[in-house]
């Protein structure tokens, strides 16, 4: 049983002062599937992402990833454990080039330390070349190869979101958390984003998606979980969710 789930949220709770942002949330994310987390604005979706990736510490409950408990682990440790993520407000390194952004993503797959980097770069040539090749491969995968040497900040938003995903993919994660990847994208870009996420799943990477674009969610998700006021109110296949009365009520703001 356990081996089917890559991620397990166990009675997760998060309070800010007196405000309960996430309440008693238990959820399983299947391996190799696309699971979507939906809910009205302010339902606590991004908070859940931050709890999973170590940017916030749960008030109670815990997260289990690939059979391992992620308690009190700092974000960079969780990345090393195999969880990649993107951010709701795109967080690319705008001063660096597109290629360099992805090369940063290869951080965990390379080892050079500060001494060798500064004093003995010839010894690192091989590793640098490997980093660069892997990054270029990601760029081709996303069709951003032509922009490789532009400052990342100069890309249009759609490409920036793609770049952010490419950067997280460069980690070679087992699970990818995407926080509203289609927000701010036009219809054409949204379709491209959907195709990209499908492709990622085909590479046997599990995806947890937060998204407001319902067409996209219903089209690509295997499972959907609905959150409202920090609570799980429904879960199931897209078809089940679309027929669920509670969900419709939550969205209509009853």
């Amino acid at each position: 049983m356990a081996s089917d789930n890559i991620l397990e949220l166990n009675r997760l709770q998060k309070c800010f002062g007196g405000v309960v942002a996430v309440s008693d949330l238990s959820l399983l994310v299947n391996k190799g599937a696309i699971t979507s987390l939906i809910g009205p604005n302010g339902a606590g979706k991004t908070t859940i992402f931050n709890l999973i990736t170590g940017f916030l510490e749960p008030t109670s409950g815990h997260v289990r990833f690939a059979g391992r408990r992620l308690s009190k682990m700092r974000p960079h440790r969780i990345a090393a454990a195999g969880i990649g993520r993107t951010f709701q407000n795109v967080q690319i390194f705008s001063q660096m080039s597109v290629l360099e952004n992805i090369m940063v993503g290869r951080h965990l797959r390379s080892r050079a330390g500060i001494f060798y980097s500064a004093a003995l770069p010839p010894f690192l040539r091989k590793e640098e070349k490997k980093i660069r090749q892997a990054a270029e491969k990601q760029l081709h995968f996303l069709g951003l190869a032509e922009q490789a040497h532009l400052p990342a900040g100069s890309l249009p938003l759609g490409s920036q979101r793609m770049l952010e995903i490419a950067r997280a993919m460069a980690l070679e994660p087992k699970l990818l958390l995407l926080d509203e990847p289609a927000s701010g994208l036009n219809a054409r870009e949204t379709i491209a984003m959907g195709e990209l996420i499908e492709k990622i799943r085909q590479m046997n990477i599990s995806v947890l998606l937060v998204e407001h674009d319902m067409d996209l969610v219903m089209e690509i998700s295997d499972r959907v979980a609905v959150i409202n006021f920090g609570r799980l109110i429904a879960k199931g296949t897209p078809a089940e969710i679309q027929a669920n009365e509670d969900v419709i009520a939550a969205y209509l703001g009853e």
Binding site: T53, F55, R74, P75, H76, A79, A80, G84, R85, F87, Q91, I92, F93, S94, Q95, M96, E100, M103, V104, G105, R106, H107, L108, S110, R111, A112, G113, I114, S117, A118, A119, P121, L124, E127, E128, I131, E164, R167, A168, A170, L171
Partner: protein
């Protein structure tokens, strides 16, 4: 290093080689030697401030610790200067580590104040710990450095030596920023959250670059001590730390060459001003060296208000703009012909 930076580096080497034959006056050569000390400290500080985005108004303290360690060990205990310099670096590494771990968790204003407070404490200790530092009287009789048995006695020799160290420092800095670690640092500057989400340990990286920049400062302090042969707390008060930040900011935070140019320009400024003072007297302004502080402040403020990327970026941007408009004009001509 590649492209434009290696061209710049080559220019630096050439400049180091030819300068002593152009500047024959020992006094001016001495000024340029002092500029080398500031340059080294500023290149290190630039890695911390410009690339990793962490401010320190306390690097004068590391210069002081380097200078005092070298001074005490060589003048009082007759150690070899080289051994003393290595020892100074080790001490600075330990201190920077102990300070960096708690301090670099702070951000912005808090970090600035913490480092400023540290610099102030080090200055107070250098004045008060008379047994160790000689107090206000300082330490005399610090020997000159020797290189493979040759004492670096003349100004020219010390010029070559200290600027070679600067060149090595610049070389190391450029290697670093274009490496895995350098990309990590720049990533931290861009977005700490994103960097952490890619597996970069923010604290470890900040502390490492803090230590590295402190080592640059320490070596610059040791070189200073062995050049002037005596040290007292005077040059190492808080305003020295502020001066280093000023140099980096005036030249340009986000580029090693910027910090380099800022350090050289502001180190030479007192000489330039005293040179200009003769002309100012003609127009009725009686310029005195006491006004220098005011001029420093004024330059820093004007740069920060109107050219926040610093002189270097200002120059290279305007050169770039001219070049691209020339290219555009040329392009239009081609179109017209075609």
């Amino acid at each position: 290093m590649k492209g434009r930076n290696s061209a710049g580096f080559l220019a630096l080497i050439v400049a180091i080689i030819v300068t002593p034959s152009l500047v024959t006056n020992d006094y001016y050569l001495g000024t340029l030697i002092f500029a080398a000390f500031n340059c080294l400290a500023c290149v290190g500080l630039c890695l911390l401030m410009g690339y990793a985005g962490q401010i320190s108004i306390g690097h004068g303290a590391f210069v002081a610790i380097g200078a005092y360690t070298s001074g005490i060990l060589t003048a009082k205990l007759a150690w070899s200067p080289w051994l003393a310099m290595v020892c100074a670096v080790l001490i600075v590494i330990v201190i920077a580590f102990c300070l960096g771990i708690p301090a670099l968790r702070l951000k912005g204003h808090y970090l600035a104040m913490a480092t400023l407070g540290f610099a102030s404490i080090v200055h107070i200790v250098s004045v008060a710990a008379i047994d160790l530092t000689g107090g206000p009287a300082g330490i005399v009789g610090i020997p000159r450095l020797d290189l493979f048995g040759y004492a670096l006695n003349s100004e020219k020799q010390y010029f070559y030596f200290s600027w070679s160290i600067v060149a090595i420092g610049v070389y190391l800095a450029f290697n670093l920023i274009n490496s895995r670690v350098g990309r990590g640092l720049r990533a931290i500057h861009g977005s700490e959250d994103a960097a952490a989400s890619l597996g970069i340990s923010i604290t470890a990286y900040k502390v490492q670059v803090f230590i590295l920049s402190a080592v640059f400062a320490s070596v610059s302090g040791s070189l200073y001590a062995h050049y002037v042969n005596y040290i007292d707390p005077g040059p190492f008060d808080v305003s020295h730390s502020v001066l280093l930040v000023t140099m980096v900011a005036v030249g340009g935070l986000h580029n090693i060459w910027g910090a380099f140019i800022g350090a050289v320009a502001l180190s030479l400024l007192p000489e330039i001003l005293s040179f200009l003072s003769d002309y100012l007297l003609v127009v009725g302004i009686h310029y005195q060296p006491d006004y220098d502080t005011l001029v420093y402040g004024g330059i820093l403020l004007i740069i920060m208000l109107f050219l926040p990327e610093g002189i270097f970026a200002g120059i290279s941007n305007s050169v770039g703009a001219v070049a691209s408009s020339v290219r555009k004009l040329a392009g239009k001509k081609d179109d017209g012909l075609g």
